[in-house]
């Protein structure tokens, strides 16, 4: 009755302030609405001040640990391009990476102590055989709100999971304020379309 075989793991990464926690909330809620046992884990506190942030969601019939084991995540979603590389080892070899093209330069780079990789895209393509690499911020600009970039990526992520579409839209309407539901659902659908054409 090992739970691990039937448990789906999702890892969401980015930089503090990008909306990782909302994306994690929507994903967990969608899994719950679809009738799953769900556990999630987030980083709070000091790490949120511009540092790398990671949230994890696991769902299935029965979930014990809230942490995604190394090399087991079905999907790795990254709101920043090199953060996907930082957490690559959590993704299963046949998992899907959904990565935003957005680059956020860390202070270690802007202050001249380190260099931001110029070959990020090549490294992403060689590391992730299944990669959706999209300009989520541009999609957000098209919809007149760059803050929905996280939900655009969630739409792309959803194509790799078995959760029904209604669970996602219901989860979005539970997790965002009423007046933002429509734009977020649109952003989600844009993300699905992007993944389908990638």
């Amino acid at each position: 009755m090992s739970s691990s075989g039937a448990v789906t793991g999702i890892v969401l990464v980015g930089v503090g302030g990008q909306g990782i926690l909302l994306a994690a909330q929507i994903t967990a809620r969608a899994a719950l609405i679809a009738g799953n046992d769900v556990k999630t884990n987030e980083v709070h506190g000091m790490a949120q001040r511009g540092g790398s942030v990671v949230a994890q969601i696991r769902f299935g019939q029965k979930v014990y640990s809230p942490l995604v084991p190394l090399g087991s995540a079905q999907v790795l979603l990254s709101l920043e391009r090199i953060e996907a590389l930082r957490f690559a080892e959590l993704l299963s070899p046949d998992g899907l990476a959904v990565v935003s093209r957005q680059a956020i330069v860390p202070v270690t780079v802007s202050s001249g102590q380190a260099v931001y990789p110029a070959d990020a895209e090549e490294r992403l393509r060689s590391r992730f055989p299944r990669l959706v690499y999209v300009d989520a911020v541009a999609v957000g600009e098209k919809l007149c709100d760059t803050r929905v970039a996280n939900v655009v990526l969630l739409g792309a992520l959803s194509t790799a999971l078995s959760l029904p579409l209604e669970s996602w839209t219901e989860a979005i309407s539970q997790c965002v304020k009423a007046r933002f539901v429509e734009i977020n659902v649109t952003a989600f659908q844009e993300g699905r379309a992007l993944a389908a054409s990638a």
Partner: protein
């Protein structure tokens, strides 16, 4: 808001603790913010119609307030992080003697792995030291149930109870079955009973005897508590596991026999003996210190534990997999850490437009030793600012400055604390400096909120946890009351004025109190100004602006550039630039 019981909801461990308190009829909740415990009281505040709640100035006060409420008959919870219990240890040690009337649960969140803490202390030691029972949930459902259980134990045995959470329980969410709030009438009110509530030695000595008798009864109860259970499986290996470690064990070896311990101390000895007798080999899996393991050995039972299970940092299924086998990564090729090789580190740092930056930049101009404290400003330790030299605990930024100065440190000593930290435990240190004729400079970086933990109110903000208007205590008045005569208030965004004030203070042989006051822009959600940009014709690439360590100022392709999406328009760069190369970005409104 309505709290009509849905059957099932997704709650974090912290939210579940708050929910459990509400369902159990708690009417008093106090605490001081501290990661990973902060969200408990924030969640309680959503039940403000039923529960009086407050951010107390510190954890000691919070526990004393709850103790008063308990003696009046109210069910109470107190929340804090592990190091907060050090502050509240004084009332806890004697509250165990006088005991409780209304149930009282002290919710303490440990931080194995030190995600957001200065140490990795294990709260379970406090249970033994204070002679109070301790419960430890392994997920959100248990977090809710154990608050209720703790309150029942507290009332049945007249003892405070500790509920120990950890980062992975507090900040993990899981499905929770909800119930309605238990109906409890009016509180009984305080009933005078000096022999019970006044531990002068005459009355305290009998209390001491009663305390030991109570522990004997509690140890018996621990054996039959629902919090402790044996799950028989394959008997070749028996695992004793508590807290989140239970979940990792179950994940890896679902077929194993497990003694799950949720009521950790007093230890359930009968259960431990029964379990040990039923398995061939015994392994104890616990995070941090080998408390259970050492006790099992003290019963004359041989077991394994710390020799196989790491005691530093937090556990995970990945870390236990080499010990227990199993796991979904089992048999898969080793992952390729090469993908992350050479990536620039992304440590947390001061935000763009953070007012603290002005103080650190100014301090960079002087050869001083800087004793720091707990808060966002601890991030001033990182390059390029590098202007925090020590951190110990809440309030120590002030007292350590005094000690260093009195010891004869050659350089001027400057102590830095935040506003919430000042009210928490900085005032007595400042009093010490004035009273004992010290000469250090204390800078209170007053950003009008408890920023690091997510912007909680404190006695200086003018608002309560309930959102009511209230007094707004000011640092300067406390300074004057302590006897400090040299007090200056400065806007830290005004670099020139800030440098001048710091210069006056550090060149003086008198104690100085500088209040650097400007609200946290993340809290006010209002950028101080319009984004800046670099005029390339004027920039001489001297890189002086990079010394600000501002995430919005980038050195890319041999050029200084401002990331206008990040820039909050604080204009510190403009004020430090000798060439006047920073200007308001095109298209932005004028300030």
């Amino acid at each position: 808001m309505s709290h009509a019981p849905q059957t099932r909801s997704l709650l974090s461990g912290n939210e579940a603790i708050a929910r459990g308190a509400w369902e159990a009829g708690v009417t008093m909740a106090t605490g001081y913010p501290g990661t990973p415990s902060t969200e408990i009281l924030e969640a309680v505040s959503h039940y403000a119609a039923d529960i009086y709640c407050e951010w107390s100035p510190n954890e000691k006060v919070a526990l004393e307030v709850a103790a008063g409420a308990s003696l009046a008959g109210a069910r109470s919870i107190v929340t804090m992080k592990h190091v907060g219990l050090n502050v509240a240890a004084d009332p806890l040690m004697t509250l165990a003697y006088i005991g409780t009337v209304g149930g009282l649960v002290v919710c303490v969140a440990d931080d194995p792995g030190m995600h957001s803490s200065q140490n990795e202390q294990d709260t379970r030691h406090y249970a033994r030291l204070g002679k109070v029972p301790i419960l430890e949930p392994s997920d959100s459902q248990e977090a809710l149930e154990f608050v209720k259980l703790g309150l029942e134990i507290s009332e049945k045995y007249s003892t405070p109870v500790i509920l120990r959470s950890t980062t992975r329980v507090s900040h993990s969410s899981g499905g929770v079955t909800l119930a309605d709030r238990a109906a409890r009438g009016e509180i009984a009110g305080f009933v005078k009973d000096p022999q019970r509530f006044v531990p002068i030695p005459l009355y305290g000595r009998p209390m001491r005897v009663k305390l030991e008798e109570r522990l004997t009864s509690l140890a018996v109860e621990a054996n039959r508590s629902v919090a402790n259970r044996i799950e028989w499986g394959d008997r070749s290996l028996g695992i004793i596991a508590e807290g989140i470690a239970y979940q990792y064990v179950r994940e890896l070896v679902p077929e194993a026999s497990v003694l799950k311990i949720g009521w950790v101390w007093p230890f359930p000895d009968d259960l431990i003996r029964e379990f040990a007798a039923g398995v061939q080999k015994l392994l104890v899996v616990e995070e941090l210190d080998p408390i259970l393991e050492e006790h099992v050995r003290s019963l004359g039972i041989s077991c394994e534990g710390r020799n196989k299970v790491p005691g530093i940092g937090e556990l995970s299924a990945d870390k236990l997999s080499p010990v227990l086998g199993g796991g979904s990564a089992d048999g898969k090729p080793a992952s390729d850490p090469g993908a992350a090789a050479g990536l620039p580190a992304r440590p947390p740092g001061l935000c763009p437009a953070c007012p603290h930056r002005g103080i650190f930049y100014a301090l960079g101009k002087f050869d001083v030793a800087v004793t720091g404290d707990i808060g966002c400003y601890s991030l001033g330790v990182f390059p390029p600012l590098k202007r925090i030299d020590t951190i110990l605990c809440m309030g120590a930024g002030i007292s350590m400055a005094h000690g260093m100065q009195k010891a004869g440190e050659k350089r001027k000593v400057v102590g830095i604390v935040g506003d919430s930290t000042f009210f928490h435990s900085g005032i007595t240190g400042l009093l010490d400096i004035a009273y004992n004729r010290g000469a250090s400079t204390i800078i209170v970086v007053d950003n009008r909120t408890t920023a690091m933990t997510g912007h909680q109110e404190h006695p200086g903000t003018g608002r309560t946890l309930h959102g009511e208007d209230t007094i707004s205590a000011t640092v300067e008045e406390f300074g004057r009351a302590c006897g400090i005569t040299n007090i200056a208030t400065v806007d830290p965004y005004d670099i020139t004025a800030t440098v001048a004030v710091v210069r006056t203070a550090v060149e003086s042989d008198q104690p100085w109190l500088i209040v650097a006051r400007s609200p946290c822009p993340l809290y006010t959600k209002k950028a101080p100004g319009s984004p800046r940009r670099v005029n390339k014709e004027l920039c001489r690439k001297c890189k002086l602006c990079l010394k600000l360590g501002c995430p919005a100022i980038e050195w890319v392709n041999d050029e200084i550039r401002v990331n206008e999406l990040l820039c909050g328009g604080c204009a510190m760069c403009e004020k430090t630039c000798k060439e006047g190369a920073f200007e308001t970005a095109v298209g932005a409104c004028n300030e």
